[in-house]
């Protein structure tokens, strides 16, 4: 029996299961840490422990400095989608629906999700590496020793800036996306601006805008919270900073796709 158990422990199946269990435990423990930190952030927000100076700085970083890349990505995606769809729809006699299709697609999905991806790669990675560097250089310990709650000090302005700025970024990006979609539809399929915008206004509802704004706020908060948490709990010098940054980016990507599914099911199913 002992031999059999030893043989099983040496087998590839056992090692695969062991790694899967370890991975699962790691994922669950990180979800627990994110939830725990999230509750502490919420408590700090409710008790008004916010530094206005730091909040303004983080809002500028999250919203303003990320704007060029976000607008470019959403704008280019809209041009690509219009270039693929517009000509085919005109050929099939559906030219009058291009504006509606593009606007619904951009406002409901492309604007928020592509902005989310851009923000993750630019801001999420920077938040994670910043906090991870502070952790491995003992700056986080220094904050705690000086009697300041490091979670409150570091997380609150960053997470709040995500929640506040992400909807603004998404509104602007979606606006640019719809405009460039119109230009591309005219360029690729000869559709007039009037036909595009008449159709767009017909298809767009207030619910789409509100859901998009709410979803963006959730995306922004999740990206900031996940990125900061990975950075905050980093360990092991330069390698640890790299690992924390990579994990922050991957987890943020997964989280916004999951949130997007949840919103799609809740509001449009």
């Amino acid at each position: 029996m002992e031999d059999l158990f030893r043989y099983f422990r040496m087998s590839a199946t056992y090692r695969i299961y062991r790694e899967m269990v370890r991975f699962l435990i790691g994922v669950l423990s990180m979800i627990g840490q994110i939830a725990q930190v999230g509750l502490r952030v919420l408590k700090s927000v409710l008790t008004c422990s916010i530094s206005p100076k730091e909040l303004i700085y983080q809002c500028d970083r999250f919203g303003v400095s990320s704007l060029p890349i976000t607008l470019s990505i959403v704008g280019m995606t809209s041009i690509i989608v219009a270039s693929q769809v517009a000509l085919e729809m005109v050929k099939q006699g559906g030219g009058n629906f291009i504006g509606m299709l593009m606007t619904i697609l951009i406002v409901r999905e492309v604007g928020a999700i592509m902005s989310g991806f851009a923000i993750i790669s630019m801001i999420g990675s920077s938040l994670a590496s910043e906090l991870a560097t502070m952790r491995v250089t003992e700056q986080v310990d220094a904050i705690d020793v000086l009697g300041v709650d490091s979670v409150s000090y570091l997380f609150v302005p960053r997470v709040l800036s995500g929640i506040i700025m992400m909807p603004l970024v998404v509104i602007l990006a979606s606006f640019v996306g719809v405009l460039l979609g119109a230009a591309a539809s005219k360029g690729f399929a000869g559709l007039t601006y009037r036909a595009y915008f008449d159709s767009a206004l017909l298809g767009l509802h207030m619910k789409d805008l509100w859901v998009s704004l709410f979803k963006s706020a959730v995306f922004g908060g999740s990206i900031a919270l996940i990125s900061c948490t990975w950075g905050y709990f980093a360990s092991g010098g330069a390698k640890g900073v790299g690992i924390a940054t990579t994990k922050a980016v991957v987890w943020s990507f997964i989280s916004i796709v999951i949130w997007d599914m949840v919103f799609a099911v809740l509001f449009f199913f």
């Binding site: 422990s49 250089t137 003992e138 310990d141 220094a142 020793v145 009697g147």
Partner: protein, 239 residues
């Protein structure tokens, strides 16, 4: 008594890093904790400062702040010297509305003068030398007038003259604040120039306790090996 440690135990993943140690540091006294790398010296400071929890035992400190000077200063890169030093006064809940901007300026200038650095309030840590960063971190640590100061290898990575300067400031701060101080170090000059007493750690246990003079007499195999920096002796370096 300002810091008393009783039967302290701390393990990481089933490995005992601190194994039932006890010691006391009185007000105005400097205790040096020495030992080879990995002997648990810095862990003791992290336990006393509350950065990590201990498994069992007791740490009793008199009321008031415990300050810590970190090995590589740990100044906040994104803040200038003024904001670094006044950080606790600006951000700590019970202090943040207590001081006006003018008060802060005065306090920061006073602390900078105490560590021999005047007029560098607007500089950023990256613009300072290692020795200056260390002194700014001293100023940041004492801004709340702490009862106890913990120094984690305060002279590590500094040239001999900067080390001497830092050692002088440890003594000066002890005299001016009458604080209980613990200095973790393995530099002989820091031990002899600053410490009133020394404890030596090996494998998480105290293997020597006495004055710097007693340590230099090399009466025990542990002190002999440490002072002569010999590879032969009861303390084995981990590969």
């Amino acid at each position: 008594m300002s810091i008393e440690v009783r039967n302290l135990v701390k393990s990481f993943e089933d490995k005992k890093i601190i194994d039932n140690i006890s010691f006391k540091v009185d007000d105005g006294e400097v205790l040096a904790i020495v030992g080879f790398s990995g002997s648990g010296k810095s862990t003791v400071l992290k336990l006393i400062s509350g950065l990590i929890p201990y498994d069992s035992g007791e740490i009793i400190t008199s009321e008031g702040d415990i300050a810590m000077v970190f090995q590589y200063s740990a100044l906040f890169d994104s803040l200038n010297v003024f904001d670094n030093i006044s950080f606790a006064l600006q951000e700590r809940k019970e202090l943040k509305h207590k001081y006006s901007k003018e008060d802060l300026k005065e306090i920061v200038a006073q602390k900078l003068e105490l560590v021999g650095l005047k007029g560098i309030e607007n500089k950023f840590p990256s613009e300072l030398s290692g020795g200056m960063q260390k002194r700014v971190s001293f100023a940041r640590a004492i801004v709340t007038e702490p009862n106890s100061i913990l120094y984690d290898e305060p002279t590590a990575g500094l040239d001999p003259m900067s080390s001497t300067l830092i050692e002088d400031y440890i003594v000066r701060l002890r005299n001016e604040l009458n604080a209980a101080s613990i200095v973790v170090t393995h530099q002989m000059s820091t031990i002899t120039r600053t410490a009133d007493r020394v404890i030596m750690l090996y494998n998480g246990k105290i293997v020597f306790e006495g004055t710097p003079t007693q340590m230099l007499q090399q009466d025990t195999p542990y002190t002999k090996q440490f002072v002569t920096a010999s590879l032969d002796g009861p303390m084995q370096m981990k590969a």
